[in-house]
């Protein structure tokens, strides 16, 4: 199979305006991936599926990943007036790094028996701009998996034929797989023996901590 650089080169040559980045993967698995842009996502997917050399006809796995907002501390050199003389001083600047939701597609070829080509799509942020193009029209195996990502992560797939919750019930609020999801206290209606026993054991711990 071609290397990802070659695939990237061909995509950018064939689809004008497409932005493709190579995401390296340093660990022993050695599975680097391609980050593609939202506007040309469907077009690129179509190319990957139909190109005679690649023929990536089988989309195996679709995964949602949540990357919350992070605060990055950066050391910067700032020019400052110190005792009348402008000198260089090391300062720390806190910068908020915008979080995003990411969808990872693992695509194989049954015709040529090669793969995987790993393709990523990223939303702009985690709350408002959570739209991504759906690849279900290209590969139908994404249908339930994209529904699952919509359900558990809240990514809205434009062009999905049937975007509903799949694992949680329809009236459920929130997206439980997000890293900042807080589980409600009363989500289990029936008091189970586990809760009782767990509480007792916890109270044991609290009592013993006092002793």
């Amino acid at each position: 199979m071609e290397t990802l650089e070659q695939i990237k080169g061909r995509i950018t040559a064939i689809i004008p305006g497409a932005r493709v980045d190579l995401i390296p993967n340093e660990c022993p698995s050695n599975q680097p991936s391609l980050l593609i842009d939202q506007e040309h996502g469907v077009r690129i997917a179509e190319f990957l599926r139909d190109d005679p050399q690649l023929r990536l006809d089988y989309l195996s796995n679709v995964t949602g990943v949540d990357w919350p907002d992070t605060i990055v501390k950066e050391k910067v050199k700032v020019m400052k007036l110190v005792e009348g003389v402008e000198t260089e001083v090391h300062g720390v600047v806190e910068r908020k790094k915008q979080g995003y939701l990411e969808v990872v597609y693992h695509i194989y070829s049954i015709a040529h028996k090669h793969g995987p080509v790993i393709v990523r799509l990223r939303t702009n942020d985690r709350n408002v701009a959570v739209h991504l193009p759906s690849l279900t029209p290209i590969w139908r195996s994404a249908e339930f998996q994209e529904r699952e990502i919509y359900d558990l992560y809240g990514v809205i797939f434009d062009g999905h034929p049937d975007l509903r919750r799949i694992l949680m019930w329809d009236g459920f609020e929130g997206h439980p797989m997000r890293k900042d999801y807080v589980e409600p206290d009363d989500y289990e209606y029936e008091p189970t023996p586990h809760d009782e026993v767990l509480e007792r054991a916890r109270s044991h711990q609290a009592r013993n901590a006092v002793l």
């Binding site: 023996p193 586990h194 026993v197 767990l198 007792r200 054991a201 044991h204 711990q205 901590a209």
Partner: protein
């Protein structure tokens, strides 16, 4: 011929029915609880705490390091350390658990506590008839209910227990030899302070 497959099938079921009285291969069930199958040696159900010697309070191998509490996937172990220390099988002073509870209604018998324990203190029991009529209290086992003797361990998992005993004896012998060597070294060179490695 229409019906040939059905006749063949009926013959097959008849053969199996008659065979279940004569062939051991065709009858694999027994009439529990009157008849029982022998338990497999590697069988596991719920964990227990091993103690050496006669007195369970003195001989408990657990040193309340809380590794199993941290690693337990369903979080069913609750440990509190005791303030007082007691000597372990090597004679070293170690902590001991003040509270050691296992909620067997949560435990999923995965044996990870056994694998992560560095002190061979927790092992899997084969007792499976544990039903109680109290849904809330009786399945939380405390330290006393969990303690079983090393002899019990030998009875249920003989191969494994022998290996464990050999390993512990080996470690003990090594430690004793080291201590002896340290004493000898200290006697040979009384002027020099003992090296930190020799302790």
């Amino acid at each position: 011929m229409l019906g040939a497959g059905i006749i063949k099938g009926m013959a097959e079921t008849a053969r199996n029915f008659i065979g279940s009285y004569t062939e051991a291969n065709l009858l694999v069930t027994v009439e529990y609880p009157e008849q029982r199958l022998p338990l497999k040696e590697s069988m596991r159900n719920f964990p227990f705490l091993v103690f050496d010697g006669e007195d369970w309070q003195k001989g408990l191998r657990c040193v309340a390091c809380q590794i199993c509490e941290k690693e337990c996937p369903p979080q069913c172990i609750f440990i509190t350390k005791d303030a007082a220390k007691k000597p372990d099988y090597m004679g070293k002073l170690q902590f001991q658990p003040k509270v050691f509870d296992i909620d067997t209604s949560v435990c999923m018998s995965c044996q990870i506590c056994v694998e992560v324990c560095p002190f061979e203190a927790i092992k899997m029991d084969t007792e499976f008839e544990l039903s109680t009529d109290n849904r809330f209290g009786d399945l939380l086992l405390n330290k006393e209910q969990l303690a079983r003797s090393n002899e019990h361990y030998h009875k249920i998992h003989p191969t494994e227990a022998t290996e464990v005993d050999e390993r512990l004896a080996g470690e003990k012998a090594k430690a004793e030899a080291k201590a002896k060597a340290a004493v000898a070294a200290a006697a040979a060179k009384p002027v020099l302070p003992p090296k930190p490695t020799a302790q």
